[in-house]
Symmetry: C2
Subunit: 336 residues, 2 copies
DNA sequence: GATATAATTGTAAGCGGTTACTATTTTATA
DNA sequence: TATAAAATAGTAACCGCTTACAATTATATC
């Protein structure tokens, strides 16, 4: 930290007290035009800029929020973060970014770090929101908004209806005449805490049941939300005895991997096997076949979460603590 | 900011002075085992955690670095940022993230904000590094590392050799027998400040010249580094009188757009027109045809930049202020 | 036991702001 | 013109920590 002019220097040069300087920079009324001018002039001359750090300490408010996500290099999260950043920018908040890789230890470590930095609040986006994490937040007493994850605890959140979304996607596949439908899902966490994949799987099962279709266990595989994982899972599905006519991947990236697996198995997509993804990343529309997918409003998940958190920090009323944003089926070329 | 125990509370409960408490938490020697224990006990009892904010003010060091990038939701940047974050995490630095959208105004605004937050240094990644921005950094006297952009000013940077990279890619196309090669580049900024696209264009031209190949102006189009832009540019190229046998897109995303344009024009990729991209984003290997591309070490650009900045902050010697990382040609299926 | 030395600990002044409270100056009102 | 009210300015305590310096205590040396 290079030294620079402080409030005393400015006060001295402008021949006023520090209080007056402070008032000028806080747009307080009750400061004469004359004083204001000379302060501004002195400040300019010295290249003075108030220290947000010192101000934060004095006011016990940092105008900073912490952001805990698994991995910013994952396009889903980078889009969410972009939404958060844009809203924060409007309200003059800054964000401290933390990549926790879904590791509970890292998450806890980051929460403590953010706390000791006095962030005004935290937006937490993780695959899991466990009792342990909940209690830590409760102990630390930091305003919290959950993004992308619902909870029964009294914590505000912004999500989509994952179950309904998967239900809709499955219904669409069924309406297209598909009967033997495979699924590539993510970690189910032993069905204990509810994670996205669990919700989505239930939605899938509901739709299948409703349509009276048989669910083949061997067509349902776990993967890791990555392209390679999707590829491997699809490959296994395709080499089984039950041949699927469609596969529902719980992420676009896994869907892309699955498409490659289909081609590598000597089949075509969508002619032989239809694929539907989840997320609607940018890449979904630039690949071939363009991906039919369930769109999540990632940017808005971030933006709404940020807006909620800032309201909570400012003690403003929030109309609804549990926000469920709309998903949307985007029909492109990977399903027929 | 919720109130919590401070150093005085702990000192009182532990029956020592605040100095001792501070010493305990800074692992100072010269504090007796007895005192250390009682401080730790008191701290635990009160749930005390030192305020990094107050510490930063007292020490004039925040252990925070500012990060200015155009757009975190762009996968290139999110990968760079991930590299930065991982290194910062190791060295106990935190990052404040700023999306400046390549807007000079936003960049300046963010620089000032970061300064008034006393960040220890800034990593700046923008398409442009102008005199104006350079001077602002110089005035503000903040340690700075440039990522992804070289400069003649005395500012450390981490880049790849864009000219050589484009040269290599072009040579590869030529070696495959291509002669009429198109280019989709980004903003050339009037060839004034050197931006990526300019360097790359020169590399392309060099290779063409060296091979004695004719460069067709109508095969060279400007675009915006987005898929749609790549699509439009390729479409224009394809409908001209000179038919290209290959197109070099200066980003993978534009390359993807171009592939779509090729198919929409009733042609095939790579059989009729080869495409080579730039970046080697994750998506490059999951699309069909898998993208032949010039790989940039995005994660490392971030990681190395962060390591350099932290060294500079700590006044350690850095062996080389101008780091040029290796690019790599990744051959997949989009070129034959 | 006296004295020198080393190990601990405490005191208090910063770091750069904000703000309650008080003091002073202006302006309005009678 | 005297006085009340409003506007403006200043003083100093405080936010929570670090650290130079001084003070105290324990240990070693003669």
């Amino acid at each position: 930290m290079v030294c620079m002019a402080n409030i005393d220097d400015v006060a001295k040069l402008a021949n006023v007290s520090t209080a007056t300087v402070s008032r000028v920079f806080n747009n307080s009324p009750y400061v004469s035009e004359k004083a204001r001018e000379s302060v501004l002039k002195a400040a300019k001359e010295l290249g003075y800029e108030p220290s947000i750090l010192a101000r934060s300490l004095a006011m016990k408010k940092t105008n900073t929020i912490g952001l805990i996500v698994p991995d910013i290099s994952n396009p889903y999260y980078s889009e969410v973060v972009r939404g958060i950043e844009d809203v924060c920018n409007i309200y003059k908040y800054n964000i401290i970014l933390c990549n926790a890789d879904n590791s509970r230890d890292k998450e806890i470590q980051y929460i403590d770090m953010l706390k000791s930095r006095w962030v005004d609040g935290i937006i937490f986006h993780s695959d899991y929101f466990s009792d342990e994490i909940y209690n830590i937040f409760k102990d630390r007493k930091i305003p919290l908004v959950l993004a992308g994850r619902a909870t029964n605890y009294d914590v505000p959140y912004v999500v989509i209806d994952n179950k309904k979304a998967a239900y809709d996607a499955t219904k669409y596949l069924i309406s297209q005449g598909h009967k033997k439908i495979g699924v590539i899902h993510g970690d189910l966490n032993g069905m204990k805490e509810t994670v996205d994949s669990v919700d989505r799987l239930y939605g899938f099962l509901d739709a299948m049941k409703e349509a009276g279709l048989k669910v083949y266990d061997e067509l349902i595989k776990e993967s890791n939300f990555k392209a390679k994982g999707g590829y491997i899972a699809a490959k296994e599905i395709l080499k089984g005895s039950v041949k699927p006519d469609a596969i529902f991947a719980f992420s676009d990236v896994m869907a892309m991997g699955a498409i490659n697996a289909i081609y590598d198995a000597g089949l075509r997509c969508p002619e032989d096997v239809s694929i539907i993804g989840f997320d609607n990343l940018d890449l979904a529309e630039v690949t071939r076949p363009a991906l039919t997918t369930v769109a999540q409003p990632m940017y808005d998940i971030g933006a709404v979460a940020a807006r909620m958190l800032i309201k909570i920090i400012d003690n403003k009323k929030i109309s609804e603590k549990r926000v469920i944003l709309k998903h949307r089926l985007i029909i492109r070329q990977s399903c027929i």
